[in-house]
Subunit: 177 residues, 2 copies
Amino acid sequence: MLDAAAELALEGAGGAGIDAIAARAGVSRTTVYKWWPSAAAVLLEGLLERTHDTIESPVSATTREALGDYLTRLIALIRDTPPGALLRGLTAASVTDQVVGHALINEWLAPRRAAAVHLLAEGVRRGEVRAGLDYDAVADVLFAPIYYRLMYAHQPLTDRLSAEIMAVCWPGIAASE
Amino acid sequence: MLDAAAELALEGAGGAGIDAIAARAGVSRTTVYKWWPSAAAVLLEGLLERTHDTIESPVSATTREALGDYLTRLIALIRDTPPGALLRGLTAASVTDQVVGHALINEWLAPRRAAAVHLLAEGVRRGEVRAGLDYDAVADVLFAPIYYRLMYAHQPLTDRLSAEIMAVCWPGIAASE
DNA sequence: CATATACTGTACGCTATGTCCAGTAATGCA
DNA sequence: TGCATTACTGGACATAGCGTACAGTATATG
């Protein structure tokens, strides 16, 4: 049943309501309410269920490459797979649903930010990254453009974006020689 | 009447419906529909009406200062005044309402991006900004963290954010000496 | 066999949207 | 002065989605 929920969560773009979810899962509406408080909650659980394995950071030669790879993979995930549309819908839902908002922060954003911060800290140890940076702010600057384009779609989410972000940001991150 | 619409647009946080808008304007629901296609459209027009004058870029000594000031002013606008909450709601609405989405891009985002691009171009002329940059990508990286925090509120929108963005990004923007 | 648990399906109240229509008030034109 | 146009009223209506309630069925567990 959790499987069914997850599947429909990803298939039904992001605007799926309780009715659609219940129907798609072959289950009564009442039953859905027994386990989740809202449609967004089901979709959120489906999203997290299916993207657990996309959190870990890659192993790359240099910190710069690792960060770039991480952004590229996030872009591909959001652009090419159902979780992208789902994340967009859930972000919209989070404006009026605080529970979803907190869950998004804690279960989606935070682990990925932590992975980036870990890469940065490792970079400092290796002497590739400047010491004394505000890691949280750096993580914001690195990730934000991706979510920005996800939400507004004023520019397409291309693979190039990752390189562009790194081109602008890396000089401010790299250890000065 | 446009005044009334604008006022209530800013007062009613962002989740105002047609009913609330009509009541607040002292006008029949039917009348609202005569002039706008949806609640979001009214709110959007109210938002744009009241923030026209916040688009222009400041005159500062250096390009770095000008960009920093611009970001600081945008942060203050979003954090301290009704347009912030309104923008948040409209962004959420834009996910399901393409008309609102395009209007947000063209009437809100684009002019501000253009102002930033103008500052960058001017900076190149003055020799303060590296030539050959992708201005659009740079504008994305500069602005995105603000909207990112507006939407997710995982971190507060503080005045410091502006300085943090500039600290990370400026080395990648500045002309290499 | 008895009981607890999970699920069904329908019905209900509620809110909000968007449309329709008959009637009223004000404006402008001949 | 008479007439037409335009803007607004307010109530009624259909539609849709949410969340809850309830009586009944199936399954498993002791």
